[in-house]
């Protein structure tokens, strides 16, 4: 029997495939293509305290083996999510991760407090909609907050500390590849009591329209994702896994079972799949099948056998 289960903060993932925030909507968008119990978990669209309309102008551009996005955290806001979408989450047999964004310390803190309050209310009714919070301090497309918090370790410490105090839910901190020092950022998260870190978010990048002589994006820069970033993301995940004792969710351009095993050999507990969801609407179902086949082919009966061996 193949063992693909993984654990973070005592929560079991059926397999290491977790769908990344911003690429999986709130889950139901893909649930019509395959049952969500084929994957280990998913991280919902990034939520902020107040609704955000996101960025104006062009929002995406394809690149060699990747894509740029400048969505800018468009979302309905945490209260709207909790009063509508969260009820649907109660019924999903998969690890449900709420991705929390913000543009000020107060917003992050109040957002986390609302989630905690909702968590306790549901608990009283014997229900659960959210298993973990993924703290997004790394969105490159939000001018105030977002990546600003994700670059300097000591600035980020304040946010992580505040959110840690505001919730009892397991906390994952999503790190930016644009951080000054990603290893010290991860160590700081561990010190502040985060149960895990996820890395990496998109790389700050650019596309210029030579005919119009300007960036194609209103914000000048956008976030690069997809296979183009995989080797760099893998290196960063490897570096962080060498340094921290908490589990790591590895992500960045994963699009095959081979990619998943690479990240697990680099030390990741689970992986996140992002842009590949756009390439294959049934990515979760297909990757979970491919992973089991590849493990069988390579004589791997449990992911524990290979985790961090490189």
């Amino acid at each position: 029997m193949m063992d693909t289960t993984c654990h973070i903060a005592g929560i079991a993932f059926r397999n290491p495939i977790v769908m990344a925030s911003g690429t999986f909507g709130f889950g139901h968008e893909y649930n019509r293509f395959y049952p969500l119990d084929r994957i280990g978990g998913f991280s919902g669209k990034g939520l902020t305290l107040h609704p955000k309309s996101g960025n104006e102008g062009l929002r995406s551009w394809e690149t060699a083996a990747g894509m740029l996005n400048s969505v800018g955290l468009e979302n309905p806001g945490i209260p709207a999510f909790l009063s509508t979408e969260a009820e649907r989450w109660e019924n999903y047999d998969v690890v449900r991760i709420l991705n929390l964004g913000g543009s000020s310390l107060e917003d992050y803190e109040r957002g986390a407090a609302l989630i905690e309050e909702d968590y306790k209310h549901r608990q009283q009714r014997g229900k659960k909609a959210v298993d973990m919070i993924e703290l997004n301090i790394s969105c490159p497309n939000v001018k105030a907050g977002g990546m600003a918090y994700g670059i300097q370790t000591e600035t980020a410490r304040t946010v992580v500390g505040l959110v840690r105090k505001a919730t009892t839910l397991p906390l994952i901190v999503k790190l930016s590849p644009n951080a000054e020092d990603i290893v010290s950022m991860a160590l700081m998260c561990e010190e502040e009591g985060a149960e895990a870190v996820s890395l990496v978010n998109t790389f700050s990048a650019m596309k210029i329209d030579i005919y119009k002589r300007r960036s194609v994006f209103e914000n000048s820069y956008a976030g690069l994702s997809g296979p183009a970033i995989k080797p760099i993301a893998l290196r960063m995940v490897h570096q962080v896994c060498q340094s921290v004792h908490i589990p790591v969710m590895g992500l960045g351009g994963i699009s095959s079972a081979e990619d998943i095993l690479e990240f697990i050999m680099a030390g990741a507990e689970v992986v996140q799949v992002g842009t590949h969801n756009f390439v294959d609407l049934r990515a979760g179902e297909n990757l979970s099948r491919d992973l089991e086949n590849l493990m069988r082919q390579l004589g791997i009966s449990s992911l524990k056998e290979i985790r961090g061996i490189v």
């Binding site: 909507g25 293509f33 062009l58 929002r59 394809e62 894509m67 969505v71 468009e74 296979p227 842009t275």
Partner: protein, 230 residues
């Protein structure tokens, strides 16, 4: 995977592709087409040109790498189709005008099959294409080359006007609708960049009077007075 049965160039840079299989779809809906493995990364959203029990057809213009690859495919080659996606044009009673500009004529051939009593207006900047197809269904086809096709549409003569074409043309349709305020009967099909096609990524988000909406799920067809960002 499905088999391509034909892929014919009908004008410079304009192709009509036929794919074998029984596909579903309403007028104005689209499919995500993919005929490559890793590069380019994303599938391409292409509206339904026509469909019957055995085949689905797409009319498309070569504008970038994806459509260039599509244009090189031949009968017997394989392609992946996901769909139908999007809301499509509303099913309304009354007199309808279908107004297409350039490759924007694509959704209206199938729309005409659903609304055979509609009047058709086809505008081209250069040599017209596919006009004979439309004329097989109706003799009420108006063609214009090099002008503004909307200028030929008598706004007051219709209960609904469906428009698809370059953004400038759809913005002109919005101004036309504003001039005849209160009638709110013009619908436009937007052509936005998309990534997922299913409402998850928000790349195709459009500003509307009702807040941000997703072109892929809430559109691509919108009531024209609703659209705020083009």
């Amino acid at each position: 995977m499905a088999e391509i049965t034909a892929n014919i160039q009908v004008a410079p840079g304009i192709f009509r592709m036929s794919v074998a299989g029984a596909y579903a779809g309403k007028m104005g809906q689209f499919y995500m087409l993919r005929a490559w493995d890793k590069t380019p990364l994303l599938s391409r959203p292409i509206s339904i040109y026509s469909l019957d029990a055995e085949e689905i057809h797409f009319l498309y213009q070569v504008v970038g790498e994806g459509t260039r690859i599509l244009s090189m495919l031949q009968a017997g080659d394989e392609i992946t189709l996901e769909g139908p996606f999007g809301n499509g044009f509303p099913e309304l009673n009354g007199k309808v005008a279908l107004v297409g500009g350039g490759i924007g004529i694509a959704p209206f051939y199938y729309a005409l099959q659903s609304l055979p009593q509609a009047d058709v207006y086809l505008g081209f900047s250069q040599k017209p294409y596919e006009v004979d197809h439309f004329k097989r269904i109706t003799d009420r086809v108006t063609v214009n080359v090099g002008g503004h096709i909307l200028d030929l549409v008598d706004y007051e003569a219709y209960d609904a006007i469906f428009v698809c074409g370059p953004n400038a043309m759809m913005q002109a349709a919005q101004r036309l609708n504003e001039r005849w305020s209160g009638r709110n009967k013009v619908y436009v099909s937007l052509e936005n960049r998309m990534a997922c096609g299913v409402g998850a990524c928000l790349v195709c988000s459009v500003g509307t009077t009702g807040g941000r909406k997703k072109s892929c799920v809430d559109g691509p067809v919108f009531a024209v007075e609703e659209v705020k960002s083009w």
